[in-house]
Symmetry: C2
Subunit: 376 residues, 2 copies
C-alpha cells in the first residue's frame, strides 16, 4: 500500500491524498460504505460501482467469521471474489462487535471469548487469530485487534484497557509481519489509537502508534456516546500527533457534519452505518438537508429526491413515489434510499476533495454543516 499526500488546505488541516492498494487507488478524503456480512445492505455491487462511485468498502470480521465463515470465504478465493467486488476492502477487527455482546463475552489478556449472536456457539478472538482471520477474508486493509471501551469509562479502566490494546497491538504486528498475503496480493495493517476521552491517554496512544510507522493509522473509540465537541477535540489532538505522510481513518464516524468537521481536522478515511441504516428507516440525506420519507408532506411532491445530487435514483424517482414506497412497506423504498444516501456520502467527500483542491474548503464546510443537517 502506498499513500501520497497530494495537498494540504491552507485554511484548515484538511488534506488531499491517494491510497494505492492491490485492488485500486482511493482518493482521500473518502467515505467507505459498510458491507457488514458481504453485502452493503440492499445495494447491488454494480450500483456501488456505477451509481454510488464507492472506491472502497468495509467488511465486518465478526459477522463474516460467523457467516459465511472462513472455510467458505477461503474456498471462494476471499471476500472480493465471494461477493464480486473488485475494489479495495477494509475489514474491522471484530473488536467493536464483540464488546457489544455485553453479558456473553469475557475479556482476558489472551483475547476475548464470546458467544455467537446467531447460535450461541463459543469462540475466542485473539490478536493473532484476528490477523489470520482478516488475512483469510482477504481484506486490503486489516485493522488491529483492540479493546474499544464504552462511554462513559473511568480513567483507570481506560488506562488499563489502553495498555492492553497496546500489548495486543504488538502481538498483531508480530503476527501480521510474519505471515503473508493469502491470495497473492499485498495486505496492510492499520493500528488503532484508543484512550477514551482522556487527552493524556489519547496523546500517549497516538505517540505509541506514530512510532510504529505503519502504512496507515486509525482512531477508534469515538462516536460511542461522548459529546460531539469531545469527539472533535480527541480527533484533533490525535491527528496532530499521527504522521502526516500516512492516511488517518476515523472509525465509525458519522453524520455529514461530523465528517466535514473531521476532514477539517486532518482525517482522510471514514465509515459509518448511518447512511444505509437511516435509509432503511426512510431518512434521506440530501444536498439541501434531511428528509423523512415517511412524512405526509412529500405525498404530492413530484420533484426528484435530490436534483442537486445527481445520479440515477436521486434524479429519477420523485419524493411522492419514494414516500409511497415507504408508506406501502415496499422493499424498493429502502433500496432507493440506500443508494441515494450512499451516493450522497460519496458526493460529500468528492465535493470536499474538490474544495480542498480549490482552496475553498473551509468556507464551504462551514456553510454545509448548517445546510446538510437542517430538517426539510
Amino acid at each position: 500500500m502506498k499513500f501520497t499526500l497530494v495537498g494540504t488546505d491552507l485554511h484548515s488541516k484538511a488534506r488531499l491524498g491517494q491510497v494505492e492498494t492491490a485492488h485500486g487507488t482511493i482518493e482521500t478524503p473518502i467515505f467507505m460504505p459498510v458491507g457488514t456480512v458481504g453485502t452493503v445492505k440492499a445495494v447491488q455491487q454494480r450500483e456501488l460501482q456505477t451509481d454510488i462511485d464507492a472506491q472502497i468498502i468495509l467488511g465486518n470480521t465478526y459477522h463474516l467469521f460467523l457467516r459465511p465463515g472462513l472455510p467458505i470465504l477461503e474456498k471462494a478465493g476471499g471476500l472480493h471474489r465471494f461477493m464480486n467486488w473488485n475494489g479495495p476492502i477494509l475489514t474491522d477487527s471484530g473488536g467493536y462487535q464483540v464488546y457489544s455482546l455485553a453479558g456473553t463475552r469475557k475479556i482476558k489478556e489472551e483475547g476475548v471469548t464470546f458467544r455467537s449472536h446467531i447460535d450461541g456457539s463459543k469462540h475466542t478472538f485473539t490478536p493473532e487469530g484476528v490477523m489470520d482471520i482478516q488475512r483469510s477474508i482477504g481484506a486490503d486493509i486489516i485493522m488491529a485487534f483492540d479493546e474499544c471501551p464504552p462511554y462513559p469509562c473511568d480513567f483507570r479502566y481506560a488506562r488499563e484497557s489502553l495498555d492492553m490494546t497496546h500489548r495486543w497491538l504488538k502481538r498483531c504486528c508480530d503476527r501480521f509481519d510474519t505471515t503473508s498475503g493469502r491470495y497473492g496480493y499485498e495486505q496492510t495493517l492499520f493500528p488503532i489509537v484508543q484512550g477514551g476521552v482522556y487527552p493524556e491517554l489519547r496523546r500517549h496512544s497516538a505517540e505509541t502508534i506514530a512510532a510504529l510507522g505503519r502504512e496507515g493509522n486509525a482512531i477508534g473509540g469515538l462516536s460511542v456516546g461522548e459529546p460531539t465537541e469531545q469527539m472533535y477535540e480527541m480527533t484533533e489532538l490525535v491527528c496532530d500527533i499521527l504522521p502526516t505522510d500516512k492516511p488517518r481513518y476515523l472509525m465509525g464516524v458519522g453524520t455529514p457534519a461530523n465528517i466535514l468537521e473531521a476532514i477539517a481536522l486532518g482525517v482522510d478515511m471514514f465509515d459509518c452505518v448511518m447512511p444505509t441504516r437511516n435509509a432503511r428507516n426512510g431518512m434521506l440525506f440530501t444536498t439541501q438537508g434531511i428528509m423523512n420519507m415517511r412524512n405526509e408532506k412529500w405525498k404530492n411532491d413530484f420533484t426528484p429526491l435530490d436534483e442537486g445530487l445527481g445520479g440515477h435514483v436521486s434524479t429519477t424517482y420523485s419524493r411522492a413515489y419514494v414516500r409511497h414506497l415507504f408508506a406501502s412497506k415496499e422493499m424498493l423504498g429502502p433500496q432507493i434510499a440506500s443508494i441515494h444516501n450512499l451516493t450522497f456520502y460519496l458526493w460529500l467527500v468528492r465535493e470536499a476533495r474538490r474544495h480542498i483542491q480549490e482552496g475553498t474548503f473551509l468556507a464551504w464546510k462551514n456553510q454545509m454543516v448548517e445546510q446538510l443537517m437542517r430538517r426539510l
Copy 2:
C-alpha cells in the same frame, strides 16, 4: 392498440405476434412482471428494462386505488410517470383482489362493496367506476370488471356469476367507449372469459366475448385451484373460439411449464406473481430446473446462479453467495433472486418465440416442461 399475428406454429397452436401500444411494441408470447402497488417488488425500474428485458408490466387496480390513491396518481400524470416506467402497463380490474377479501365484501348487481385491508375503510367497485379508475391510473390495457368465482364452485353459481359478469361487461364497454384516454394517449379494454371449469359455460362466455370484437381478450378464473389438466382443457376450448387476430391473455398463470403448455394452446400473454414471490422465499427458476437457495447444498457451489440464462445477476453471483445472503436474511438475496427469476421468465417467452419462428417449438416445449420443473 394494434395486434399483428406474425405467424402460427405448424405443429401446435402457438402463435407469434406483435402488440403495438402508445408506450411501445410488445412481442408475443410475452410474460408481464407484476408490479402490484407501483413497484415490481424488490426490482428497480432500470433493472426491469435493461436486465430483465420486460416489455410490459402489470399493476393492480385494487392496491393502487388504496395506495397511493387516484388523486396522487392523477397529479403525477398517471402511473407511468409516478413510478418512472415508460413501457406499456396493463391493469387488472381489482375484481380478483376484492373477491379474496372474503368476509368483508358484498357482491350485488350494482357492484362490489368491500373494506380496505389497510384501514378498514369502505369502498364500492362498480363496472363503470373500475373503468374510470383504470383510465385514471393510465394503463395502456384495461381489464373488464368481472366476478372470478372460486374453485370448486357449483354449476348454478358459476352460471349465475357468468351471467352477471357478462352484464357487467356490457356496462364496462359502454362506460369505456363513452370516455377517453386520461393523459393524451389511447387505452384499450380487454373483456374476460369466465365460466369456471364448465365447458358449456366457457364456450358460451368465449362466444359472447368473441362477438364483441374488442382489441384483445382475456381468460380469467383459471389457476385458482383446479387440476392442471382442467386448466389446459378450458384454455384450449376458449382459445379455439376467441378470434385469431386478437391477442389472448391467460390471467395469473403460472409455472414455466404452465406457460409453455398454454402457449402451445394459443395463448399470447401471461402474468403471475410466482417468479417474484418465490424469489423472495429463495426459490429460483433456472434453465436446468428449480433451486432452493436456502438449501445447504449450495454452500460451497461457487458456480454462477445460471450461466445458461445469461444476464448480469445470473452470471455474476455464485450460488454459494446467494445462499449466504438468504441464510443471513440479507435483502440483497430477494433482490438478486427477483431479478433472476424475472430474467428467466422473460428468457422463457423469448426462447418460445424463437422456437415458434424456427418451427421447433413443440419438441423444445416438450423437453423444457420436464427440464424446467425438476428440482436441482
